[in-house]
Amino acid sequence: MTADVLLVEDDERNGTLIQLALEPAGYVLSWARTVAEARRLLAEHLPKAILLDLRLPDEPGHVVAREVRAMPGGDRVLILAVSASVLEANRRQALESGCDDFIEKPISPRELLARVRAGMEERVEAPGRVEERA
């Protein structure tokens, strides 16, 4: 089964919580704990959305956003940075690397679900915006 959402998160418990927020709503998650793992999964399948932690053990998370944007079809992926690193510099780096939005931890599961849903609907309804990006 292919995944709708790629979760890139090294904290087990934060990751479990994100699973609990999204899976009951019908999203299928694959979970990478490192940037290297994310690369492997992305090489197999490009998801509709990526939830990206920025502080990961091997490399900073924002490189995933940059790499996805450079892939064929990578512009259509919704990328949300979900991070406890909330300094202005972290936020700027995430957005400059191609993330669509920056979500600060902590976040309620309901709000996270709402943001993912809204972001994905926007992507589907506004393909023109995707073209403009390229």
Binding site: D11, R13, T16, A84, V86, A89, K105, I107, P109
Partner: protein, 381 residues
């Protein structure tokens, strides 16, 4: 200062001919460079020198400080050999001093337009050197303030991240339980409850470590000195920690008849908890973790021995630095390098010491020692 520079010239010679000011803000480099310059100057026909010899510790050339022409009598290393015939007719050099009296470099000028350098020139250049040194000092102070600002930013970034991560689980987990707890399976609900409890504990510990940090920022931590039986404390803490790290196997060995140590039991517990969680995080899956309490000439030592990836030799000291995080950290290891720093601060405040050692063939040893009660006069061996 507008004389044309010939591309044929050694840049150092051009430097001299232009009577340029040499201000080198790296002290070591300044000495090497100034040493080279002085070696060249020794070939000049006239000169004045007001720097003293130990400014150039590496320079083996003979030199006089009376301002008369100098001649080289002993061979110099090739890179310091005087450049003959390079057109230096007269020269003057004065040292640059920092406010604390440390020499940081040299100002040298060469080839006075009219005649030789005089004592008056020396006074002028010395006064100029004072102004230059003051400006350099201010530039350094600004740079160090900027560094401090960046460090402060980084510090709050790390702390904020470390606080928000467990809060995310507690905040989100409790919401899931409240809103949809009844729809979760029993196991999922139990897991979530455990996660929330564990992260609350992690948050509590982090705050305790941060308190140590804030105390050491102000002054030494305030510690109570009371006799503690480490063998009892170790058993109690290990039993409690085993609950937190179910996958790790913790084993305790204590020597019989250990004397009490002097310290603050709450803080000793914090130290041991940090060492154990460190071992469990990095090496919990690699094999049993042994905790050994033993006496050693007026001290009681507690050693936590794991079979994990170990510590790189050059990191053995650095692991106790604030925000140090090992490159071997597995993906699931949380933490920002605050725990071991807190350990060192606390143990040292209680008069003891901490250490990290490699083990053969694999693993690491983290330990601390505290003075046995009544052994205050023993040397800190």
């Amino acid at each position: 200062m507008t004389a044309p520079i010939s591309s044929e010239l050694d840049p150092r010679v051009a430097f001299l001919e232009l009577a340029r000011i040499i201000t080198l803000d790296d002290p070591d480099e300044a000495l090497v460079h100034a040493g080279r310059l002085a070696a060249q100057l020794t070939a000049a026909e006239h000169g004045r020198a007001v720097f003293d010899e130990d400014l150039f510790p590496d320079l083996t050339a003979p030199r006089r400080l009376d301002g008369t022409a100098l001649e080289t009598e002993a061979p110099l290393p090739p890179e310091l050999r005087p450049v003959g015939g390079m057109g230096v007719q007269s020269w003057l050099a004065v040292p640059l001093y920092e406010a604390d009296g440390r020499r940081i470099g040299l100002i040298a000028v060469a080839n006075r337009l009219d005649g030789d350098f005089t004592e008056r020139d020396e006074e002028v250049l010395s006064a100029f050197a004072v102004a230059v040194a003051a400006a350099l000092g201010r530039a350094r102070a600004v740079a160090s303030l900027q560094d401090a600002h960046l460090q402060r930013q980084a510090f709050f970034g790390v702390i904020s991240h470390e606080l928000r991560t467990p809060i995310t689980t507690i905040y989100g987990g409790s919401r899931v339980l409240r809103q949809s707890g009844s729809r979760l399976t029993h196991d999922a609900r139990q897991q979530l409850l455990d996660d929330v409890a564990e992260e609350a504990e992690r948050l509590y510990r982090l705050v305790e470590d941060l308190l140590v940090l804030s105390r050491t920022e102000r002054d030494a931590p305030v510690v109570a000195a009371e006799p503690i039986l480490l063998q009892h404390l170790v058993s109690r803490v290990v039993t409690a920690e085993q609950q937190h790290w179910p996958r790790a196997r913790l084993r305790v060995t204590t020597s019989p008849g250990l004397p009490p140590v002097m310290g603050d039991s709450t803080l000793v517990e914090q130290v041991l908890r940090n060492l154990l969680s460190n071992a469990a995080k990095y090496a919990g899956a690699a094999g049993p973790i042994e905790v050994v309490a033993a006496g050693n000439e007026g001290w009681v030592e507690v050693r936590v021995l794991d079979q994990g990836p170990g510590v790189e030799p050059d990191a053995l000291e650095r692991v106790f630095e604030l925000f140090y995080r090992g490159s071997e950290a597995p993906a699931h290891a949380q933490g920002a390098g605050i725990g071991l720093y807190a350990c060192r601060q606390l143990v040292e405040a209680m008069g003891g010491s901490v250490w990290a050692l490699p083990r053969t063939p694999v693993g690491a040893e983290f330990g601390f020692r505290l003075r046995a009660h009544g052994a205050e006069d023993e040397p800190a061996g």
